[in-house]
């Protein structure tokens, strides 16, 4: 599903702040895999996701998504097959548009944005059913602006919207980090359910090691632009939070933190 070959990523090349985040980095994700990605701050997780999505252009190297060479394709071109939920809940939707309007736009992703009406009255009840699945009581608020929902509610709708039409790949960057523990748990359950039901391939960055261990079928730890731990299947099932934490700490101590 995803193949990254020999990625080099240098911020501000030649400038005073030159910083090489990845030097000859390779990474792959199989179809249907749900990868939890952990690593200390600044280890390059967000940079990695941005390179996958085309938000950032890699200095050199290749990115393949579903067999297609995406190395030099624009972010909006790649977005056709990718759904993305970010840490900031207000980035996943349009705050001044209603839930229904946001969903109508999302449903039209990959199709023509022409001069036909955006909201098809017949679809509203279908949208409402999807929102009801979130069990947040939002089904009565279809005409409420996104901006007036809470962060958790917005994140739930963002997740719904990102996966509304069939996509190949779901990318989550600390998407529960801005939420309280309970809401965070709810969103995590929802994420897992969505990924399983829609059989999505997913990469989830999280700082919550428990989520990383409990969810997903592969766990990858990054440090300074390298993969330092990569477990899946039985091996992952046998791994406890403490084990991951120990490795995490060992690496941090090595760095002198």
């Amino acid at each position: 599903m995803l193949k990254m070959n020999n990625i080099v990523m240098t911020y501000d090349p030649g400038g005073i702040n030159e910083l090489c985040v990845f030097n000859d980095f390779s990474f792959g994700v199989k179809k249907g895999e749900f990868v939890s990605l952990v690593g200390s701050n600044g280890s390059g997780k967000t940079t990695l996701l941005n390179i996958i999505c085309g938000t950032l252009a890699q200095t050199s190297g290749e990115v393949y998504i579903a067999g297609e060479n995406m190395s030099h394709k624009k972010d909006y071109y790649r977005a056709r097959r990718i759904g993305r939920v970010l840490q900031n809940p207000s980035l996943g939707t349009c705050p001044n548009l209603t839930i229904a309007e946001n969903m109508a736009l999302a449903e039209n992703k990959g199709k023509k944005f022409d001069f036909t009406f955006c909201i098809n009255k017949k679809r509203i009840s279908a949208y409402r059913d999807m929102v009801r699945e979130l069990s947040l009581g939002l089904e009565d608020k279809m005409d409420v602006k996104m901006g007036s929902l809470s962060g958790g509610q917005r994140q739930a709708v963002s997740l719904l919207i990102a996966t509304m039409i069939p996509i190949d790949f779901l990318i989550l960057d600390e998407h529960t980090a801005a939420l309280d523990p309970l809401t965070s748990e709810t969103i995590m359950h929802l994420t897992d359910k969505t990924i399983k039901e829609k059989k999505l391939t997913a990469v989830m960055v999280t700082h919550n090691l428990r989520y990383a261990v409990e969810y997903g079928d592969r766990l990858v730890m990054m440090d300074k632009g390298r993969v330092v731990m990569d477990i899946s299947g039985k091996q992952k099932q046998a791994t406890a939070v403490e084990d991951v934490l120990k490795i995490f700490n060992d690496i941090s101590i090595e760095c002198g933190n």
């Binding site: 624009k74 972010d75 909006y76 071109y77 977005a79 056709r80 759904g83 993305r84 970010l86 207000s90 980035l91 996943g92 939707t93 349009c94 705050p95 001044n96 548009l97 309007e101 946001n102 109508a104 736009l105 999302a106 039209n108 992703k109 990959g110 023509k112 944005f113 022409d114 001069f115 036909t116 009406f117 955006c118 909201i119 990102a162």
Partner: protein, 295 residues
């Protein structure tokens, strides 16, 4: 006395209706796209210059509206490309186009161009005469401008409900969302500018036909007028969210032109108009800001 008052009121209405088309344009850039588009001060006289030149050469007055719209659309396209493709800041992109247009307008129509009384305009020929020929010229102007202002408003209101129209709102609201819809946010922005400046140029064309003249300086301050009108309109109706943005812009245009007319009646010298406009605009901005701060 009554008749003077009546004529003045009709004139204010005509002015606010034909300038409302400009405020629709500013509503699109400023309110929807969140793009302060200074192209306006150039695209407004561009529409007037194109239409003045065509009128004196005997073109059909309705066709000049189409030509003005196309010229304005090109101006907006230019600003959009400078901003999106060459990453020039929004205000600067507009200033560059505006400055270039000043020379272009001089090339097209000189520093002044008068359309003489014998030349037909949309208010004195064709369908206007056939339908409203029995009315006085000012009433005819009022009806025609109202029809145009409302027709454009209705078209825009419908457009805003379409998929493409909604995309315009989305790009002003959250660019990343547009990208996630697999759409190029830059081209959506450019399209918004194209539509906006086409409307502004139509307004310039209507003003030119109404006053039968073009002057190279007629664009100065139009962007500020449009902003003020849009902000006044949306402030007045802020508690009534069901009122459409275009209705706010139309109402803002009316309130603004009315205030100016009253100021002139009270003896304000015409030379001070722009100064008053600037002060008024500053007051509106400060009042608007203090309100959002409280909220």
């Amino acid at each position: 006395m009554m008749e003077v008052f009546f004529n003045l009121s009709v004139n204010v209405l005509i002015q606010s209706l034909i300038y409302a088309v400009l405020t629709y344009g500013i509503y699109i850039t400023y309110k929807i796209l969140d793009f302060p588009d200074l192209t306006v001060d150039g695209s407004f006289p561009l529409g007037a210059a194109v239409s003045a030149l065509l009128l004196v050469n005997g073109a059909d007055p309705w066709l000049t509206i189409v030509a003005a719209a196309l010229s304005g659309a090109l101006a907006g396209l230019f600003t959009g490309i400078i901003h999106v493709k060459f990453k020039v800041r929004d205000l600067l992109a507009g200033i560059i186009t505006m400055t270039a247009l000043f020379s272009l307008n001089l090339q097209i129509a000189g520093s002044n161009l008068t359309v003489d009384r014998a030349t037909p305009t949309i208010f004195t020929s064709g369908i206007a005469m056939r339908l409203f020929g029995g009315l006085s010229l000012s009433l005819r102007k009022l009806i025609i401008s109202a029809l145009i202002a409302f027709a454009i408003k209705i078209l825009l209101d419908i457009f805003f409900k379409t998929k493409y129209g909604m995309l315009l709102f989305a790009v002003g609201d959250n660019e990343r969302f547009v990208t996630s819809l697999a759409r190029d946010k830059g081209s959506v922005k450019i399209m918004g500018l194209v539509i906006s400046d086409a409307l502004v140029a139509i307004s310039g064309c209507l003003v030119c036909q109404e006053q039968r003249s073009f002057s190279a300086t007629m664009g100065t301050g139009q962007m500020v007028f449009g902003l003020a009108a849009v902000i006044i309109g949306s402030t007045v109706f802020r508690k009534m969210s069901f009122v459409k943005g275009t209705s706010c812009a139309l109402a803002g245009s009316l309130i603004y032109k009315l205030c100016i007319q009253i100021a002139i009646l009270l003896g304000l010298p015409a030379n001070l108009l722009k100064m008053v406009t600037a002060v008024l605009f500053l007051v509106i901005l400060i009042v608007g800001q203090s309100r959002t701060r409280e909220a």
